[in-house]
Symmetry: C2
């Protein structure tokens, strides 16, 4: 069965506050790094799965992203999928 | 001053256990999603900064990634940087 590599990027919606990102931005200033205008922290989920074809692999990962990996009330997600060589 | 968009992907080193990822993988099975062979959860940091040129922007973000965003004992990171149009 073909083997797929998927990356799901989960980010907070722009209207949602990101206290962890704000804390990292303040810490960056204290480290002497200047010029940072925004810093937001999201999740990067990397997964490997077997599926009969690419459409089915995409369907499975989209279901996971919607139901398990992201909270659709406050987060958006995007998906990249590629078929791995045998 | 030019404006840059940087994405830092922080992932656990392959030798480090990922209990959150394992929990998500078990939850995926309970959701009825089959065929998942591995699932690892990392961080995706998106930041916007002003810097005089691309080399300086890269230097600043690399410093942040090494000192603040990733824990080099257990995590790897990668960086993508692009110059935003005015």
């Amino acid at each position: 069965m073909p083997n797929f590599q998927a990356s799901v990027l989960v980010s907070l919606r722009p209207s949602v506050l990101d206290p962890a990102g704000e804390a990292a931005r303040s810490a960056a200033n204290r480290l002497g790094v200047e010029g940072i205008k925004s810093l937001r922290i999201g999740k990067a989920i990397s997964l490997e799965l077997d599926a009969p074809d690419e459409a089915e692999a995409r369907r499975r990962v989209e279901l996971l992203a919607d139901r398990l990996l992201a909270n659709p009330v406050i987060e958006d997600w995007s998906l990249e999928l590629e078929c791995l060589p045998k």
